[in-house]
Symmetry: C2
Subunit: 204 residues, 2 copies
């Protein structure tokens, strides 16, 4: 929910080298957009930015950190999910919605996200959304959900969240787009909760 990635927050912005940091981000952004998530490497970004790979790691941590920073994703699943599940699975659906919509409801948080979502879906392989972002969500939920099939549960949650973000913020369907966040959480929370904890027996 914070603007920076974990690694970035820990180390703080390095005021002494704004150009290098910015150049790495710019190169990374371009590489993720052109080559997708998997084919973008820390080493490749470093080479194109004309710096040592160790410096990219130093500034941005892992490739996941670099990805979240380059795309300015303001919701880091690795931080948000543990916070949402800290009080237990009960009510986690509503808390997850509250956390995500809380970011999207702010115009300054929403603008880059709408572009990223559009770009990810326009991307022929959709690798940014799938391999970059949803993989972090699946992994996070896999560690937090007790039962079997955490991956399928994560994907069911993703269907509802993704469609909700598109309808409310990208398509801006009215009245949905103007509903208070609390009303949306009440309406959609039970769906997310069900996907998080209902038995999925029928899948065998």
């Amino acid at each position: 929910m914070s603007a920076g990635t974990g690694a970035e927050r820990q180390r703080g912005r390095r005021p002494g080298a704004p150009d290098t940091r910015g150049r790495i981000l710019e190169v990374a952004r371009q590489s993720f957009a052109d080559r997708g998530f998997r084919s973008t490497t820390m080493r490749g970004v470093a080479a194109e930015a004309g710096v040592d790979a160790a410096l990219v790691h130093h500034y941005f941590g892992t490739k996941d950190d670099l990805f979240l920073a380059a795309l300015e994703v303001p919701v880091d699943p690795r931080a948000v999910l543990p916070a949402v599940f800290a009080p237990g699975v009960e009510g986690a659906g509503a808390r997850l919605l509250e956390a995500v919509l809380g970011v999207w409801d702010q115009p300054e948080g929403r603008r880059p996200l709408v572009s990223v979502l559009r770009a990810s879906l326009g991307d022929a392989e959709s690798t940014l959304l799938r391999d970059g972002f949803l993989r972090l969500v699946e992994r996070g939920l896999g560690e937090l959900l007790p039962g079997p099939d955490p991956r399928l549960r994560a994907q069911l949650v993703a269907t509802q969240m993704l469609g909700l973000l598109l309808a409310r913020y990208v398509l801006a369907l009215e009245p949905l787009a103007s509903l208070p966040r609390s009303a949306v959480v009440e309406l959609v929370g039970p769906t997310v909760q069900r996907y998080l904890e209902a038995p999925l027996d029928q899948l065998g």
Copy 2:
């Protein structure tokens, strides 16, 4: 669920004028893509195709018919929704999913749809998806659902359907993408059903 629009089926293809018909469709497709749904007119399409507006109406019926034909949308909400609700609102969520996924599960049905969905979301104003397609869904549900707020219900259904189509067919998330349709209907049906008929009192 058929390949043609209502008007097209009624009148049948006119074997005598394949070029004119094809030219109108091509012009319409381009106009919807360039100008969006609202700014595309039957008159404008006719003028650009070099034919009389009456001929466009003759071939394609209304602007909604022309839209569905030009974008090759194989699910006409005006036909599917009444069929889904004919046995009553009970089970309508599962029947709606079955009908829509039945089309998307066929590779030949899916290919144009994936392109249209990508294009609609990439379109800066998203007018094709919102003003062209979802408007027909909202209107159809408005006539079929008994309670208040049919428009909001239609939009909630749209959030779940849209996200499901994206996750299963565009992002192709596994295991969701390979689940049998019946399993998806069992998992997601209760969500759609709830949006169709649960009380929405909290909205005042």
